[in-house]
Each structure stands twice: as structure tokens, then as C-alpha cells.
Amino acid sequence: MKRLIFILALALMAPIAALAVQPDEVLSDPAMEARARHISQKLRCPICQGENIDESNAAISRDLRLYVRERLVAGDADDQVIDAVVDRFGEFVLFEPRARGGNLLLWLAGPAMLLIGLLIAWVFLRGRRPTDGAVDALNASEQARLDEIMRD
């Protein structure tokens, strides 16, 4: 009985257990294959949870990988291939959102925050410059505590 379950499971799972890129998908031209891999890593598998099509095991990812290679072989540039996939599936499949429209905010958020931070830090650091202000003396209990620590 147990053996039967194993075999059944094997039979059921076999097609899903397929590895990401299959040997039969690989293009003979290494340069073009490298481009295909690069593009694949930017495209999200439409049905998986956060995997790109290069590492995904889903059937649709395989279809997409083959489609990408088809287009490359047909002579498309990388951007054209990505555009073609986005036209079909929407911008959801793009792992690198395009830096235009509202998404500009996303791309500029980091640099903008850095500038703001530098500005604040600059204002703060100017305020920290040494002046000739008198330093507060320790009060009695602080002095006692300091002595205690220094003795140790």
C-alpha cells in the first residue's frame, strides 16, 4: 500500500518537479542564451509567488522562456522582447518597474532620502561644532558613581 502511494505520488508529481531551465530550451548560441537568461531573470512568473521565470518550475514559465528565446532568435532586441511579454501579461510580470510615471517615486525615493538626510545631518553637525560654552560640572551623585567605576 505504502509503495503504491509512493508510485502514485511520483507519477502525479513528475511534471511539476521539472527543473527551471530545461536542457532542450538552451539555445546553441551562448551569447544569445546569456541574453535570454538575463531577460528571464527580470520577468516574474505570472502565477507563482515571487519567482522569476528563470527559476520557476511552472509550465507557464517554461512557455515564457521559450517565447523569449523565440523572439531573440527572430532578431528582437532585449527591450522589445520584454515589451512583448509586458503587452501580454501587464506590468505585473516586470520585476524591475519602469522608471516613469508614478514609479519614478520609487526610483527616486532612495536618492531623495539621502539628500534630505545629508541636509539634516549637515545642519545638525554645524550645531555640534565646538563653541566656548562651559561644560556642566558633575553633580555629587554622578561624581560618586564615576569614582566607583574608575576604582574598578
Binding site: A14, P23, R44, Q49, G50, F92, G110, L114, P130
Partner: protein, 653 residues
């Protein structure tokens, strides 16, 4: 019966935490010593009760008590014992119980080791800690009770997700939680200080060890998760910028910043209000992480237990604590007057830069993680933000950090002349340049990543060595070993960052990959190694069926390794996993994965040569080790020793 006992203990712990969050706080406000000190036994009792509750749940998993719904859903009799135990936290309810267990553990530790804390501060810290506990106890008891029974106990369980049945992942969550929850101590100290209206060097000295410990655990937890992804997911990636990874990375970045700004408070009594803000944010992001994982608002490979009510509950906790703390901060921050003065070109100034870069990089990770959510909410657009974005938007900050780090680490306090401060780094600079030239020479035509990664890594490592030597000065090697542990810890941790830089840079740039159909007995070549698929067997494991391949790896006719990549099927969950076979080396890993059988009896095989892969995790281990060495520094024990001397002066009763 045992389960009900655990359930009861959990409710009692909730009650104790309610007591602990109110009575000591009132006592501290009124100056009643007895009320204040009631926090300590309460913290211990709370820990004991959660401990009993956790033990009861563990017992149910170990004995496979399938009358518990949780055990039925996440365990199986055929599962090895290690995974029966790790199954306790391999699910939502159990992991939350682990969360509060660690929370109570930190509270109890503060109660036990808090002898030298002023009683008022101690009472307030423990009360704030208990209030976090109370919120999460309520969360568990009302929305995620692990002790629910099934009316008709089934014969066997549904098993733990096979991907989680792995030694690396068994210990990944506990370390991560020790880190997340450890930051709650920094948070409690920050809120207590805000209530008190007083932050001084002593405060920083109490906060820093807790933050250091939390950061260390977080480092280990993240490294374990990354290592697991590397060998388990079958293509050898080590970081995916998955929302849940980001959720653990943000608190890590912020706690690293906190760690450094607390030094400025401790040594120079400056940056006080910023340090308080960081402490609040670091724990706030820990809770955001919990929210992201538990609520299912962001889909991810990790998200277990997606449930809107739970999400709303955690969002509520997050809003109350972070919002409350920030409000308190807004009211009180102005009373934190800084004392130390310094010029921008000084150690303090360098640490401000460190904080700025770490905080902004955490912000970039944050905005990238929530952007899909924001875009859907604002414009009803469904979009994705993944690795390509983060690699471009995040990496520049790390590069800037790495360039500045050795300068900052060697800079004197208060006031520095750059040219003079940088002089001890000349050797390190030349070394780093040499490494860059060397890497460039051996990798012509490839990406700049290798040159930058290795160059910066070498710069960081050599810079740490230069820093140590600079501290020794002319007084000889014996002085080197008498340097304070904190100096050693700093050098080790910074060198660890460098080691990770080298690993990431060289692995990314130099990895070799081969995907092919391999005929049995027919060798193929990759990166100077010969691979031969010898045989493929079907093997039965304890709770899985395995397709086990044997692959010989040779170099110049000599055997390098015999690798056994596997493909497993776990029938209970009907789920396949790949078990890559790796020959670990200092300078390269050989990584082999077996795929499907082809019609003619040959097999799909993926082979990788991954240069310097282990340096990524070796660097993380060094960082954690540096933290540990620093934690053992004398100055954290000084205050304890002073207290003991005072106690000895009074005769024991």
C-alpha cells in the same frame, strides 16, 4: 490534558503580563519601591508560564498528539524527531508562541541581570516589555490559539512542508526571533527613557549589549536562511529580495545603525534623540516584518497562515506601539539635550554618515517592499518589485558604506584632520588596489562586479587590520592582545563585512553554469572539472522517496569528489524537493542538481562552479563573532562588578 495545561499556563502568563505592565509603572511614577520591584518576580513568573506552555506544545508534537489541530496539520508520525520538534515553530501559531517565549525570556533576563539599573528605569523597562508581551498574548489567545482540539482525532497528520524539513531551517526561525524580539529590549529601554525624560551614557551602556545580542542573532538567523536557500532551492541563489527576506533585513540594517549610534551616546553623549528614534524604528520594523509574514498582504514563498483578521490584529499592535512610542518621542525628544561637541570630520561625524547610509538603505528596502501594495492602493496598478530593482537601488549605498568604513573606524573622536587620520590606511589602500588589478586581470571582459566587490572587500579587511595595528602603535605585538575586546570585535565584524563583499562580488561575476542532458558514463567538462553521471537509484528515506544520482567529479584525472544530488518526493504533502549535492571548498563550491529522466534513459543535470560562495556566510559568521567578542568587553561588566563590591560592603543578613 497536557495541552489544556499549556493553554491554561498561557492565559496565566497573559494575566501576569497585564499585572507587570501596570503595577510597576504606577510604582515608578509614585516612587513606591515595592510596586516597582514587583516587576522582577512578575517577569520571571511570566517566562516560567510561557515556558510551561511552550513545553506542553512541544510535548504534543513529540508524542504526535493528533487530537491537537495544529499537530495534525503540521506533523506526521514518520517524521524524524528533529523535525517533529522544529515543527513546533514551523507554523503560524507555534511560531507566535516561540515569539512570546523569547519576549518573556528577554524580560526575565533584564530582571535577573538588571541589578545595576536604577529601580525606576528597571521597573519601566520591564513594564514596557510586558505590555508588548500582553499584546502578543492576546493575539495568540484570541486569534491563533495553538491548543485547539479536534473533535475526532485523525489517524495521522498532514506533515510539515518538506522544504522546511531541513537542519538549516530548523534553527533559522529561533535565531531570527531571538533577533527580532531582542530588539524589543532596545525599544523598551527607549520608551522607558522617554517616560523618564533622561538619556545619558549609562543608558546607552545598558542598551548597547541588548542591541548587539539581537543584531548578532539576526545576523546568524539571516545567514542560516540564506544558506538554506542556497543549497535547498536548487539553483544556488543566496538572496532573493523576497518580501519576507526584506522583512528581516530592514531590522538588521536598522539595528546595525542603532549599534553604532549608541556608541556615540555612550562615549560622547550626542545623537541621543536619534538613537531613541532608531531603537523605536528597529523594533517597529521587526513588527512590520511579523505583519508582512502573517497577514498575507504581500505574497511570498514564505507567507504561511495568511489570514486577514490576524493581519488586522498585528497592524493594530504595530500602530499602538510604534505610533504610541513615536508620539511620546515627539513630546519628549526635545528634552534630550546633547552634550558632546565635535566637528563633522571626526569619529562622531563618520558614525552619523554610517547611520545615514544604513537608514536610507533600509528605507530603500522598505519602499521597494511595500511599493506593489502602494501602487495597487493608489492607482489600482498591479506591479512587482524584485531583485533587479533592489540590486540597482540598494547596492550603491553599500558601496558608499564600504568606501567610508575604514576611514570612519580609524578616525579620532571630536576633531580630525583627514590626511593625518587616513595615513595608517595607506597600506590597506594599496593592497585593495592591487587586489582590484589582479581581479581585473583574471576576469577581462566580465562585469565590474567582481572588481568592485573584491576590491572593497580587500579594503575592508585590510582596513580592519590597519586599524588594529594603528591602535598598537609602536608598543609591540604583546599590546595587540591586550587591546580591549571591543576593538577586536569591531575589527572582526568589519572584516566580516569585507569577506561577505568578496563572496557576493566574485560569486555573482564568476559563476559557471551548465545545463544538459547527461548520458550515464559519458563525461562532460565545466570550469576545468570533469563530471560523469555514474548511476541513478531509487532510494526510500524515512518519510520520502528519493531519486539518488551518483556523479564523479575529477580534475586532471584525479578524483575531486563523488556527489549525490537527490530529488525527493514527500508523499504525505505530495511535494517534490531538490537536494543539491555540493562539494564545499574555500575558493569554490561544486554544485550539482539532478533533473528529470529523459526518454532515452539519460538525465537532465545542472552543474555549477560557484567561486567564493562560502565567503558570503563566512563573512556573516565573522560579523556575529565580532559582535560576540565585543559583547564580552570589560566595560559591560564593569558596572556589574562595581555593584557587587557595594553589596559586599554591607554584611549579608
Amino acid at each position: 490534558m497536557i495541552a489544556e495545561f499549556g493553554h491554561f499556563a498561557l492565559i496565566l502568563a497573559f494575566m501576569v503580563s497585564l499585572f507587570q505592565m501596570t503595577v510597576p509603572l504606577v510604582g515608578a511614577a509614585k516612587g513606591w519601591l515595592g510596586w516597582m520591584d514587583s516587576a522582577r518576580p512578575a517577569a520571571l513568573a511570566q517566562f516560567l508560564l510561557v515556558g510551561v506552555s511552550f513545553a506542553a506544545l512541544t510535548m504534543a508534537f513529540v508524542t504526535s498528539d493528533f487530537s491537537l489541530k495544529l499537530v495534525y496539520e503540521n506533523s506526521h508520525t514518520a517524521k524524524p524527531m528533529l523535525y517533529k520538534i522544529s515543527g513546533v515553530w514551523g507554523n503560524h501559531e507555534g511560531s507566535m508562541l516561540l515569539w512570546v517565549l523569547i519576549l518573556a525570556l528577554f524580560g526575565a533576563a533584564a530582571a535577573v541581570f538588571g541589578d545595576n539599573l536604577p529601580p525606576q528605569l528597571r521597573a519601566r523597562v520591564l513594564a514596557v516589555q510586558a505590555s508588548i508581551g500582553a499584546a502578543f498574548f492576546a493575539f495568540i489567545i484570541f486569534t491563533s490559539n495553538p491548543f485547539l482540539r479536534l473533535e475526532n482525532p485523525p489517524f495521522d497528520g498532514r506533515d510539515l512542508n518538506p522544504l522546511l524539513q531541513d537542519p538549516g531551517l530548523a534553527f533559522h526561525p529561533p535565531f531570527l526571533y531571538l533577533g527580532y524580539v531582542g530588539l524589543s529590549m532596545a525599544f523598551s529601554f527607549a520608551v522607558a527613557a522617554l517616560i523618564e525624560g533622561r538619556v545619558d551614557a549609562a543608558w546607552a551602556r545598558w542598551v548597547r549589549p541588548w542591541t548587539l545580542a539581537a543584531w548578532m542573532f539576526l545576523t546568524i538567523g539571516i545567514a542560516l536562511g540564506s544558506w538554506w536557500a542556497y543549497y535547498e532551492l536548487g539553483w544556488g541563489g543566496f538572496w532573493f529580495w523576497d518580501p519576507v527576506e526584506n522583512a528581516s533585513f530592514m531590522p538588521w540594517l536598522l539595528s546595525a545603525a542603532l549599534l553604532h549610534s549608541a556608541i556615540v551616546v555612550e562615549k560622547r553623549e550626542a545623537l541621543k534623540s536619534w538613537t531613541i528614534l532608531l531603537a523605536i524604528m528597529a523594533f517597529g520594523f521587526s513588527m512590520i516584518g511579523t505583519f508582512i509574514v502573517r497577514s498575507g498582504v504581500i505574497t511570498s514563498v514564505h507567507s504561511f497562515a495568511s489570514d486577514p483578521t490576524r493581519g488586522i490584529f498585528i497592524l493594530g499592535i504595530l500602530a499602538v506601539f510604534t505610533g504610541g512610542a513615536l508620539t511620546l518621542y515627539a513630546v519628549r525628544a526635545s528634552s534630550m539635550t546633547a552634550k558632546g561637541v565635535f566637528t563633522p570630520m571626526s569619529r562622531e561625524g563618520a558614525l552619523v554618515l554610517n547611520n545615514l547610509l544604513l537608514a536610507v538603505s533600509a528605507f530603500v528596502v522598505f519602499i521597494g517592499t511595500i511599493w506593489p501594495l502602494a501602487a495597487e492602493f493608489l492607482w489600482d496598478r498591479k506591479l512587482s518589485v524584485g531583485a533587479p530593482f533592489f540590486n540597482k537601488a540598494f547596492t550603491p549605498f553599500m558601496i558608499a558604506l564600504a568606501i567610508a568604513l575604514p576611514f570612519g573606524a580609524i578616525m579620532p573622536w571630536k576633531r580630525a584632520v583627514f590626511a593625518r587620520a587616513a595615513r595608517p590606511l595607506r597600506g590597506a589602500f594599496i593592497f585593495a588596489l592591487a587586489v582590484m588589478v589582479l581581479v581585473f586581470a583574471v576576469s577581462t571582459g566580465r562585469s565590474a562586479i567582481a572588481v568592485i566587490g573584491a576590491g572593497l572587500g580587500a579594503w575592508l579587511i585590510a582596513g580592519s587590520v590597519a586599524d588594529l595595528l594603528h591602535r598598537v602603535g609602536n608598543s609591540g605585538l604583546s599590546r595587540l592582545f591586550r587591546l580591549p575586546r571591543a576593538d577586536w570585535g569591531k575589527a572582526i565584524a568589519h572584516a566580516g563585512v569585507g569577506v561577505t563583499f568578496i563572496g557576493v562580488g566574485l560569486l555573482t561575476a564568476w559563476q559557471l553554469e551548465d545545463i544538459r542532458v547527461a548520458k550515464i558514463g559519458q563525461p562532460f567538462d565545466l570550469g576545468g572539472y570533469d563530471f560523469t553521471l555514474r548511476q541513478v537509484d531509487q532510494v526510500q528515506g524515512p518519510n520520502y522517496l528519493s531519486t539518488l544520482a551518483t556523479i564523479d567529479v575529477n580534475r586532471d584525472g584525479a578524483s575531486v569528489a563523488v556527489l549525490h544530488p537527490e530529488k525527493r518526493i514527500y508523499p504525505v504533502q505530495a511535494m517534490p524537493t531538490t537536494e543539491a549535492a555540493i562539494d564545499n571548498g574555500i575558493f569554490r563550491d561544486i554544485y550539482v542538481v539532478i533533473g528529470d529522466e529523459q526518454a532515452d534513459g539519460s538525465w537532465a543535470v545542472r552543474t555549477y562552479v560557484k567561486p567564493f560562495a562560502n565567503w558570503i556566510w563566512a563573512g556573516a559568521i565573522l560579523m556575529a563573532l565580532g559582535g560576540m567578542v565585543s559583547l564580552s568587553d570589560r566595560r559591560y561588566r564593569v558596572a556589574v562588578g562595581a555593584k557587587r563590591a557595594a553589596v559586599n560592603a554591607v554584611p549579608a543578613e
